[in-house]
Symmetry: D2
Subunit: 255 residues, 4 copies
């Protein structure tokens, strides 16, 4: 497959990454010269283009992680390290119908959308119009047609039923448990993402009384390693905390 107008590309210039939409007649400027999109349209992904100042520009299709990382520049996001773990712990498969609240910047929405694929659906609730707009724009940019946004507070109820997996990134997830329990198929995984210990405690205590199984709680740390001819070593700085991930299942206790 070759690069076409409208595609979102990841351009890598001397280690710096840029997420751009390819447009005919347009130009991408760096501090080391520019490239014309017309010069790369029709060429294969993976090429190393050159700016007019002869600096290399790697032209790539963005991965899920690339997209998430770039969206994170502007708003708080779920990080790839957490999103990957969430998807694999939730048992998400192509075709799944997944529910999330809130949408935030749409970062996890995009990860979920890509994971469930065209045969699946992501229902994303967001009560802040400002965020909804950002999330919708981000999702549309990548041409993801399987996301349905709802402007509203998930705590007021949802129409969906038999949902295969739910993800909550709310300040007070315990207030949404009744609603999501009703929307989920039995046995489905509910994931809750919270930054503080007070929230862990309150969420876990509420889960026990709301028809969910004993939760598992994890935190994931990621450290970058630097490697060159002279030395291999962990990077000096790292993110010390994003949030804690709580996994639980809807159970049918008195079936």
């Amino acid at each position: 497959m070759s690069i076409r107008p409208g595609d979102v590309a990841l351009l890598v210039v001397r280690g710096k990454k840029f997420l751009v939409t390819i447009k005919e007649g347009a130009t991408f400027h760096t501090h080391k010269g520019y490239i014309r999109y017309d010069d790369i349209i029709g060429k294969p992904w993976g090429i190393v283009a050159k700016t007019n100042m002869d600096v290399e520009v790697l032209v790539l299709r963005p991965t899920t992680a690339d997209i998430m990382e770039k969206l994170g520049r502007k708003t708080q996001i779920i990080y790839p390290k957490d999103a990957g773990f969430i998807i694999i712990k939730s048992g998400i498969l192509p075709g799944f119908r997944v529910l999330e609240a809130g949408s935030g910047s749409g970062s996890l929405t995009i990860a979920l959308s890509r994971a469930v694929g065209p045969s699946g659906t992501v229902y994303s609730y967001e009560k802040e119009e400002k965020f909804l707009k950002i999330a919708r724009r981000n999702v549309n940019r990548f041409g993801l047609g399987n996301v349905i946004f709802h402007h509203g507070d998930i705590r007021d109820g949802v129409d969906e039923r038999d949902i295969d997996a739910v993800f909550l990134d709310l300040p007070d997830p315990w207030n949404a448990l009744r609603v999501v329990h009703e929307a989920m198929r039995p046995g489905a995984v509910l994931t809750i993402f919270v930054p503080s210990y007070e929230q862990i405690k309150k969420a876990c205590m509420a889960l026990k009384e709301s028809g969910f199984s004993d939760p598992e709680i994890h935190e994931i740390l990621i450290r970058r390693i630097e490697c060159n001819e002279e030395r291999t070593r962990p990077a000096t700085r790292m993110i010390g905390h994003t949030g804690f991930v709580i996994f639980t299942r809807k159970i049918l206790a008195d079936y």
Copy 2:
């Protein structure tokens, strides 16, 4: 959907997890009594069954992480924390054609198979017949029809071309670079998993000379948090190291 004979179920008894295949007429024994599979066949997933000693047994469909964790009891595996990150960093989508070597216990094979779905394919190379047999059995147990196993050394070449993502879990990944470069579509992600620093160094040095982009190297740590009425705290023991994950892209330098 309800529980059927032949399904693989995750049974949770007092926090302990068991991966079992549901069989008509058969019985599951715990140290706290037994349940008859006939009593749960036809019932919905997510039910809380009871043993003859009245101990609760949660009956769940296993997630990708559940499957991986249980396979890990017998052989060294890629962990869910690493597999989730690999899938999201590789840009794997439903429908992708993915190549891996070696198959090992089939733990990552299963995660990749589930991620690419029925419209995708996983090509898995394993040179040790012993491992191939284990991996094949594990994959078959979950009815995953999109995996093609090859008994052979990936370093001797592969037939596949235009592969969308490659994963190498080999002691000497640098010796497979020429082969996988040829098999990959330009821009595709190659992931290398190695436990030691010597291997990071050797792999990264070889990548630079083999038509791949500057690698990114990460390690992922996961810590469990315990929460009950009295206290919330990180667990005393954790896994300190599984391996380092190296990501790189096939590039077309002189296109």
Copy 3:
């Protein structure tokens, strides 16, 4: 200085460490033969002795960390990683008068005793007679003459005044704040060690109302690295959590 009867020695046999008291006429047995103490008495520390089966035994004076680690085999202890940080964050110097509660196994007592030296004093309160006995025996074994044990509950008050640093390892440190505040010199550091988040919260909230400065809270993780001819890598297993360390200062707000 040479090895003398009554000295405590660290014997290292094929990577395994043993803390023994050198006795004339006695013998140290390993699974690889024995050594007679008489054969090493009078010899310098650091020698490599040999068992009757010709296996090497390294004879060392134990460091503070060696002592702490060996005591930890039987009871819960403060680990060297935490003790070292505590001493350096508390500003402990030779000659300091330090207060601790509870004594526990005497592990931190020994570390503090060694840090303040013969010109300093450690006052150690323990309400459980069982622990007091263990702590006293451990301290005496190393001939540390600068420790004064008190059998009693620190919450009931202490006689000491103008204490240079205080360490609390209690389930409810907030109940000892009034007592230790009175015992401390102004500006002195109070260290609190707690395993759970609920305790962090409760301690920190209480500190603010008890004449202490805004606390600093840390957790310390330690990971072992393995290195041999073939490979260098982090160890597979590590301790994920011992406790959180809270540092604060007695302040004179209305002076």
Copy 4:
């Protein structure tokens, strides 16, 4: 004890820390007003002074960690988390004669000086005159009379013998092993601090051939926890890597 001219004080203004030398007639300026040193001279440590704009200034005697952290603003330093562990693993006691190379900014020199006290001595070698000057000035500022600086390359030999503990923070510690082995008493601990894996490997291989015991290698991570009325959580950012700490002992193999 009260605050005197010439003392080094740690001033804490709204969470920010300043290391200042108290001078008669001088003034300390913050962005929130100033305090006159004359107003605090003679008063006890631990007081809460106020600027002319009524902002609180906590006046404290700096701990070892406070000193190290402030020195670190200008040059690369050994961190308190590492220094504390080093002291406790080295078995350093008041009265010890300790050798270090290089001096760097004098950060660890100060920690060692404080740990061995007036009855001990720190011999500190530094070949770069620029660093020697910085280290000497930092040590002098705290009135530490037990440090002897040497301008020179430790690899060229040292005069000291029967040294109780050695610390090496050099790019090529393996080149100093012969010299320090000769300077150490048998059984003494040698600590090596290196940032990269290549250095771990090279150092450990050299130790085995230089009369030292099998090394132990560790890395220490520290994470800050934030706690206020609303929430308790790990800090977002942390230092991901400072260096690896290698411990070994001089042994007498053929005694």
